[in-house]
């Protein structure tokens, strides 16, 4: 059977790619150290497959057809379309893992979840900035899960917790002996294209980190459900961390680093969770 061997989360932001070479050196060093630490831990757990939980920044979907959750079940996916990404992450095709993707989809349907599916997703900066900076082997197969983190109404935190538990169940019921890691991307607080653009809500971020560290799902749900509409819109991407958190069994959270990153407009957070005992 497959097993969950690593669970991680990391922020992203287009400026990380667009202005990487020109951003202040000390800031680049902090980002590098955090991403590198996730990379070190990811390589140490020797995954055969990486499930990446990310938002879609209006690349695959529009408001005429906007799924809450989409699972990428193809053998391949397209690399990032943004011009600023092509310079730093020139992979035009990324490997998928159709068999596990289909298993995850079927497990979801069998458990009364109703995701949409895609045989070929385009993976934008939200997925690919962490892959680039963490140094994920471009040959490592990916199963993307795209979550609507951008346009209300979005999946509830309660539902994201349930998705995380479902993801864990799918991993542990997959019949091949795969080593599977999970990476949630996005957050923490940031504000994009709204009247508070540039605001990094450190109070929210620290409370959010505390809620993950405590682990308890009902408290995390209550806190995020209450607070997400009161902070910047980018914080909605925390849903991807929530899915990772529940996949980890809602325990074992470890903050790798957090710092407000006004250069990139995000509250930059990096974390891992203890993998379940074998």
């Amino acid at each position: 059977m497959a097993k969950l061997v690593g669970i991680f989360a990391a922020s992203h932001g287009p400026i990380i790619a667009r202005d990487w070479e020109t951003m202040p050196r000390d800031h680049r060093a902090k980002l590098t150290a955090a991403f590198d630490e996730i990379g070190r831990r990811l390589r140490a757990c020797r995954p055969d497959l990486l499930v990446v939980v990310s938002p879609d920044h209006w690349v695959n979907f529009f408001i005429n057809n906007l799924p809450a959750i989409c699972i990428g079940i193809g053998d391949e996916h397209d690399g990032p379309p943004e011009p600023f990404m092509k310079k730093v992450y020139p992979h035009t095709v990324l490997k998928g893992h159709a068999a596990f993707g289909r298993h995850l989809l079927q497990t979801a349907l069998d458990n009364d979840f109703d995701p949409t599916l895609s045989h070929r997703l385009t993976l934008d900066h939200g997925t690919c900035i962490p892959l680039w900076r963490i140094g994920v082997d471009p040959e490592l197969p990916l199963v993307p899960i795209l979550v609507n983190d951008l346009e209300a109404p979005m999946p509830s935190i309660r539902r994201c917790l349930a998705w995380g538990r479902l993801l864990r169940r799918a991993i542990e019921s997959y019949p091949e002996p795969l080593r599977v890691a999970v990476l949630g991307t996005g957050g923490l607080s940031h504000s994009i294209g709204e009247t508070t653009m540039g605001w990094i809500d450190e109070t929210f971020d620290h409370a959010c980190i505390d809620a993950f560290a405590r682990g308890e799902e009902r408290q995390l749900d209550a806190f995020l459900t209450e607070q997400l509409d009161r902070t910047g819109n980018g914080a909605h991407e925390i849903r991807d961390w929530v899915i990772a958190h529940a996949a980890a069994g809602s325990s074992g959270f470890e903050l790798i680093d957090y710092f407000p990153s006004p250069v990139t407009l995000v509250g930059a957070g990096f974390a891992s969770w203890k993998a379940p005992a074998a």
Binding site: N64, G193, M197
Partner: protein, 96 residues
């Protein structure tokens, strides 16, 4: 309130380099391809961030003004002015 055709224009600009080129050459002609309301058309021609903001997803709004060539600092300043004392009350944006 989401304006579908304005959103569609912004979305298409994100995906179609030729449309971007066309919009830079003749924005009015590009708007003819969409069912853009007269008041929205005026806001587009005036680069009126405050008028457009309640009508589209905030990420699409940001992308559009990048395409228009508005510097980020200016874009942010125009957004911030919407919540400044004395500014008209901004509609609660229901999209992220």
């Amino acid at each position: 309130m989401t304006d579908y055709w304005l959103s569609k224009l912004f979305f298409d600009l994100q995906h179609d380099a030729q449309l971007v080129t066309d919009s830079r050459a003749d924005m009015a002609a590009v708007m003819e391809r969409y069912r853009i309301k007269p008041e929205v058309r005026r806001a587009l021609m005036d680069d009126d961030v405050a008028a457009l903001s309640p009508l589209v997803n905030a990420y699409l709004l940001r992308f559009y003004f990048q395409v228009r060539g508005m510097p980020q600092d200016e874009f942010m300043a125009r957004l911030h002015a919407m919540s400044a004392p004395g500014a008209p009350a901004a509609e609660k944006v229901t999209h992220g």
